[in-house]
C-alpha cells in the first residue's frame, strides 16, 4: 500500500516534469521562430546538433581537447591541493608561511592571469592544464586545510588514549575525518576547472569546445553555437555526478550522521 502510494507520487512528479519541459520547449520554439538570429529554437538546435556532431564531426575532437586539459589539470590540482592543504592544516610552520598566499590567490580571479599565462605557456595543452590547475587548486587546498584543522577533538582524544603516534593520528584520524571537506573542495574545484578550461580555450586556443563556441558565434550561427554549450552542460552534470559517486565510494560513512 505504502509502496504503491510512493510509486504513484513518483509517476506524478515525472509527468509534471515532462509537462513543464514540453511547455518550455514550445514557448521557446514559437519565440525563436520569430527571431532566429537572436534566440534560435529547439528544432533548429536539434538539426544543428546532428550536423555538427555527426556530419561535420566537429564536436567530439573539441570535447576531447577540453577533457584532456581538464583531466591533467584536475589531477595535478587535486594532488597539490590535498597535500599542501593537509600540510597547512597540521604543520604550524607551513601554515604560517603559505596560508596568506593561498588565501590571497583563492580570492583573486585567476582567469585574469590568462593573458600572462599565454606569454609563458603559449596556446597549447600546457596553457589549458595550467589554467585548470590554477582554477581548481585553491578551493581544494583551502577546503582540505579547513578539514584538517577542524577534526573533532573527541576523535583526537580517542587516538591519544590508544597511544597513537603523530603519524598514526594523521593517517587514522585526521585524514579520514577530512574526507568530506576534501570532497567539498574537489566538487568546487571541478566546477572552477571546467570554467577555467573553457575560458582559456575561448581567449587563447585553436582547439577545444570553448574555441568552437567562439568560431560559431563569429558567424552568427546561433543554433549551432548552442550545441557545444549544451555539450558542456552535459559534461558538467556528468562530472558532478561522478564526483558524488566517488565520494560515496571513498567515504560511505560520510552520508550518515553521528559518531
Amino acid at each position: 500500500m505504502r509502496r504503491m502510494r510512493e510509486t504513484r507520487r513518483r509517476v506524478g512528479e515525472n509527468v509534471l516534469l515532462a509537462g513543464f519541459l514540453v511547455i518550455v520547449l514550445s514557448v521557446w520554439e514559437l519565440a525563436g521562430r520569430g527571431n532566429p538570429r537572436v534566440l534560435s529554437y529547439p528544432s533548429q538546435i536539434a538539426t544543428s546538433a546532428w550536423e555538427l556532431i555527426v556530419v561535420e564531426n566537429k564536436v567530439l575532437p573539441a570535447l576531447l581537447a577540453t577533457v584532456e586539459g581538464l583531466a591533467y589539470g584536475f589531477v595535478i590540482a587535486a594532488v597539490l591541493g590535498i597535500v599542501v592543504g593537509f600540510a597547512m592544516g597540521r604543520i604550524r610552520l607551513v601554515e604560517l608561511v603559505l596560508y596568506p598566499y593561498a588565501i590571497a590567490l583563492y580570492a583573486t580571479p585567476r582567469i585574469a592571469l590568462v593573458p600572462l599565462l599565454v606569454l609563458w605557456f603559449g596556446i597549447d595543452l600546457e596553457l589549458r592544464v595550467v589554467v585548470v590547475v590554477l582554477s581548481a587548486v585553491f578551493p581544494i587546498m583551502i577546503n582540505t586545510y579547513n578539514g584538517a584543522r577542524q577534526v573533532d577533538p573527541a576523535y583526537l582524544d580517542a587516538a591519544a588514549a590508544f597511544a597513537a603516534t603523530p603519524w598514526q593520528t594523521l593517517r587514522t584520524v585526521v585524514m579520514p575525518a577530512s574526507v568530506p571537506y576534501v570532497f567539498a573542495g574537489l566538487r568546487v574545484g571541478m566546477v572552477r576547472a571546467l570554467v577555467g578550461v573553457v575560458v582559456a580555450e575561448m581567449t587563447a586556443s585553436v582547439v577545444g569546445t570553448g574555441r568552437l563556441i567562439i568560431e560559431l558565434g563569429a558567424f552568427f550561427q546561433t543554433g549551432r553555437l548552442l550545441v557545444p554549450v549544451m555539450v558542456l552542460g552535459v559534461l558538467g552534470v556528468v562530472l558532478s555526478v561522478g564526483m558524488a559517486k566517488a565520494q560515496t565510494l571513498a567515504a560511505p560513512w560520510a552520508m550518515r550522521e553521528g559518531r
Binding site: 573527541a154 576523535y155 582524544d157 580517542a158 591519544a160 588514549a161 590508544f162 597511544a163 597513537a164 603516534t165 598514526q168 587514522t172 584520524v173 579520514p176 575525518a177 574526507v179 567515504a251 560511505p252 560513512w253 560520510a254 550518515r256 550522521e257 553521528g258 559518531r259
Partner: protein, 301 residues
C-alpha cells in the same frame, strides 16, 4: 572461561582460580595477590589550569588494588573527569604522579583502556575496525586483530554487528563497542568516564550488569566516573566521594556486597539503603555548598 582468561590476559595464575560463588568477595581475594595486574596509585595529584589561581584538583591520593572497581562520584566541578583524564595520560597534572604497578604512568599506554562518555567512536570505521583500533596501532596483523576484535565484540554481546558503522547502531550498542575497543588492547586498567551517562535508564541498567560481569571475569582494575549513586553502589568495591573547589577526596566508602551482583538483590539489602543515605548526606552537603558559591572553574568537570 579459564582458557580464554589465559589468552586474554596473557597472565599466569588467573586460570587456576576456583569458580565464583555468589557472595564470594572475589575481587578482594585477588587483590594484592597478583601485583603485576594493574595496581594503580594516584600520588598527590594537583591540577591548576594556566592563569587560574585556584586548583581544579588538590592533593589527590588514591590507591587502587589490582582487580578492584573504584567509582569517583561528586558534584559537577569536583574534577573527577579531570582526574580520570590525568590517569589516562590525556592531561598532565601540575603536581604529583600516577603509578601503575609501581612504575610511573603519566602517558597513554596499552595498559590503560579508556571508555568515553560520548563513545568517541570513529564514524568512518565499522564496528570491527573501531574495536581493532588499539591492536592496529600496535602493528598487529589484520587477521589477528580482527580475530581479537570479534572475540571482544562477542563478549559485549555484539556478534553479528561487525560490519555496521557507528551511525547504524543505537547509543547503547555504540558504548558496547567503546568498551570492546578498550578491552581489545587487553589493558590492566579500565578507565571509564561516565560511560553510561548518555544512555537511557533501561539501557544503562542493562549495561551496568554487563560491565559487572565483564570486569569480574576479566579481573580488570577499573576507575569509573559517575553521577549516579545507584550505579556506583552496584558496580564498585569502593566509592570515592569528591568535593569541589578545589577538587579533593572527601571520603572513601567500602561497598560490602558480594559478587556476582544483581541490581534487585542488592537494592533490597538493608545495608544498601543505609550506605546510600550516608553517601547522599555527604554529597548533599557538598552540593549545597557548591550551590551557594559563585560558579567558576567548571571546565574540568
Amino acid at each position: 572461561m579459564s582458557s580464554r582468561d589465559a589468552t586474554v590476559r596473557g597472565a599466569t595464575g588467573a586460570s587456576t582460580r576456583p569458580p565464583l560463588a555468589p557472595g564470594d568477595r572475589d575481587v578482594d581475594a585477588s587483590r594484592g595477590r597478583d601485583s603485576e595486574r594493574g595496581a594503580l596509585s594516584i600520588v598527590n595529584i594537583a591540577k591548576t589550569y594556566g592563569g587560574s589561581a585556584r586548583p581544579v584538583l588538590d592533593g589527590i591520593r588514591l590507591d587502587i588494588g589490582a582487580g578492584e572497581f573504584v567509582s569517583l562520584i561528586g558534584p559537577s566541578g569536583c574534577g573527577k573527569t579531570t582526574l580520570l583524564r590525568i590517569v589516562a595520560g590525556l592531561l598532565r597534572p601540575s603536581e604529583g604522579t600516577v603509578e601503575l604497578d609501581g612504575r610511573p604512568s603519566l602517558e597513554p599506554s596499552r595498559e590503560k583502556g579508556v571508555v568515553f562518555q560520548h563513545f568517541n567512536l570513529f564514524p568512518w570505521r565499522k564496528t570491527i575496525a573501531n574495536t581493532a583500533y588499539g591492536p592496529e596501532l600496535q602493528g598487529v596483523s589484520r587477521p589477528e586483530r580482527e580475530e581479537t576484535a570479534r572475540r571482544f565484540l562477542a563478549m559485549v554481546g555484539l556478534s553479528g554487528y561487525e560490519e555496521h558503522y557507528p551511525a547504524q547502531i543505537s547509543g547503547g550498542m555504540k558504548q558496547r563497542v567503546g568498551i570492546a575497543r578498550a578491552l581489545a588492547i587487553e589493558p590492566k586498567v579500565l578507565l571509564m568516564d561516565e560511560p553510561f551517562g548518555a544512555l537511557d535508564a533501561l539501557t544503562r541498567e542493562y549495561l551496568q550488569r554487563e560491565l559487572e560481569r565483564i570486569t569480574r571475569s576479566e579481573r580488570l582494575t577499573t576507575l569509573f566516573v559517575t553521577h549516579s549513586l545507584d550505579e556506583a553502589l552496584f558496580l564498585s568495591d569502593r566509592i570515592v566521594v569528591m568535593g569541589a573547589r578545589p577538587g579533593r577526596v572527601l571520603a572513601v566508602f567500602d561497598v560490602p556486597f558480594g559478587r556476582p551482583r544483581a541490581q534487585n538483590d542488592i537494592r533490597s539489602d538493608p545495608s544498601y539503603a543505609e550506605l546510600r543515605k550516608r553517601l547522599w548526606d555527604l554529597l548533599e552537603g557538598e552540593l549545597a555548598r557548591a550551590a551557594t558559591e559563585a560558579p567558576g572553574q567548571e571546565t574540568g568537570a
